[in-house]
Symmetry: C2
Subunit: 367 residues, 2 copies
Amino acid sequence: MSDQPIKRRKFIAKSVQAASLLALSSSAYAIGGCTADTRKLGIALLGLGSYATNQLAPALEHTQHCRLAGIVTGTPSKIGAWQKNYAIPDKNVYNYDNFDSIKNNRDIDIVYVVTPNALHMPFVVRAAEAGKHVICEKPMEISSDRCKTMITACEKAGKKLQIGYRLQYDPYHQQLMRLGQKQEFGKVKLVNTGFSFYGVNNDNWRFTDAKLSGGGPLMDIGIYSLQGVRYSLGEEPISITAQRYKTIMDKLPDMEETICWQMEFPSGAVANCTSSYVARENYIRVSSEKGVFGLEPAFSYDGLEGYINQGVMPPQTHIQQAAQMDAFALNIKENTPVIASGEEGLRDMVIIEAIYEAARSGKKIIL
Amino acid sequence: MSDQPIKRRKFIAKSVQAASLLALSSSAYAIGGCTADTRKLGIALLGLGSYATNQLAPALEHTQHCRLAGIVTGTPSKIGAWQKNYAIPDKNVYNYDNFDSIKNNRDIDIVYVVTPNALHMPFVVRAAEAGKHVICEKPMEISSDRCKTMITACEKAGKKLQIGYRLQYDPYHQQLMRLGQKQEFGKVKLVNTGFSFYGVNNDNWRFTDAKLSGGGPLMDIGIYSLQGVRYSLGEEPISITAQRYKTIMDKLPDMEETICWQMEFPSGAVANCTSSYVARENYIRVSSEKGVFGLEPAFSYDGLEGYINQGVMPPQTHIQQAAQMDAFALNIKENTPVIASGEEGLRDMVIIEAIYEAARSGKKIIL
């Protein structure tokens, strides 16, 4: 089955009778014995926190190529509601002890790891070793070494790995990529971006446990600005400077409260970025030789708005997480490269390490 | 006459019959022998470049307390058009050689120095020594030492000095000051601001002669961001980091092309700023504990737009330069402190020197 869609696309591309052939190829699935339901790859969500509960599970009601098939949780009290809400059979419910037996469950094609950051590596490795494709929420992990371990584990298992960079699959952000990388307004010269929110909540591991989070707002939300700069340019930074600040001394242990960082790119483009847990900003602005474009709000789950010079980017109705998971399901079905790959997550982690080193040392880091 | 308005204001403040007394005091000007025309202080513009031509002279057609009375220029060919357009008599036209004789001209109360930056000091000193009040365009000069010389000269002459910070007199920017300094949304935590334009024009001293300009975009336009941060906070920075970049190696001699700088304030607030001659940005965004407000466009001559959280700041119809010059004329008439004072210009110059030193050394500068 996995090759079927590739053949279909090539076939259509070569044909002068695309419309009639599309009808034929659609029915080919049925000929192959696959019903619409079974063609939806089964996803098990691992870690039933707020992102899984409020974003991923609802998004999976809108996916075309995958579906919510199972859950993996360390909190038994959550199981009942999830089974009821999403008709999850008992056999597709796992805890962290019996999780490895998921390898025998043919309902589950993909495990989506949505745990705190420093638990990504062990669960991604276990999922890959259980023969499952893996989606891992961002940031990929808390160090580049741990990211490499994850990539190696998936490669060794012959399984695909996607990082939960929902915005790489968002039409507004795809516009940024296109406008910047195709140099539609000439070379990009400067990118300004900030993603911050106000509110340190001591009930959440993000703010209280650097061993789990690996850092402060940079790891949590600034990573979206980093991604935005990189894919607006289609280049990798060659130097980094950074500054970190802290005013709330009794919170955010071993984490920055606010961080600014600057990146220099081979083309000469410069980016100036900010991320903070005590501010309010959510924008990316790309200045080019002949024009400017950007998004504000830029990084939210929905309600994004975009501009190109004085004009407005056409509004998009879009479920980011559904697009992201469907794209991964298609990557698996069609055996195509994953856009938000493990290597992409690793690249960010290497840069994040350089940003923290630049902030710590006060020195420019050459990459 | 100069004490009259002060007495008047005190009188009104103490009175329970303000309305009738206002009528009395208004007529006091006439009793003192001043007609409406002569009460407008006479301004001589020194340096008839594009800012004097396209902004200041037209603005002086809308001022209530001052008027365009004379010109000082090194370019004789410009004189005819100015005399014709603004009915300037021969006796109020000076060149740079005979300029000092302006001290005998009772039509001229104020000299507005609009030359390239490094000529501000000699002309401000000469104007003060000629017994004139002085407005000096921003940036005040190219070094803090030269700024001090200017302040001393005006003090010694007993004359007032204003720096051409038009935005300190703009209602949108006054909103920033009020919202930030009064902490209407709690403490300010982060200010992001950028002022840049794309276009290096080799016909202009700003881009070709660092001895005249004293620097690149920071001196020219970034100074507005610096001002905006300082008056949104009502605080002075305690530390500076900065990064400068250059890609056009055959232009902008001894100047930065793009500069980013960060400032830390006693309250813990942080600012991240950008200015460039190869980018397009014009905004200031003030994040506070309980809200966000800002302007975009923020620093233009007109067309500013402001927001407070999700709302829009009421639109303002306003001629910045007219408000600025009228305020100075009133400061002279009423002998009140100048808001955009020489000391204010000096403070910026000290910070600008620290920004350049931070960029040069790569080190954090403690102020």
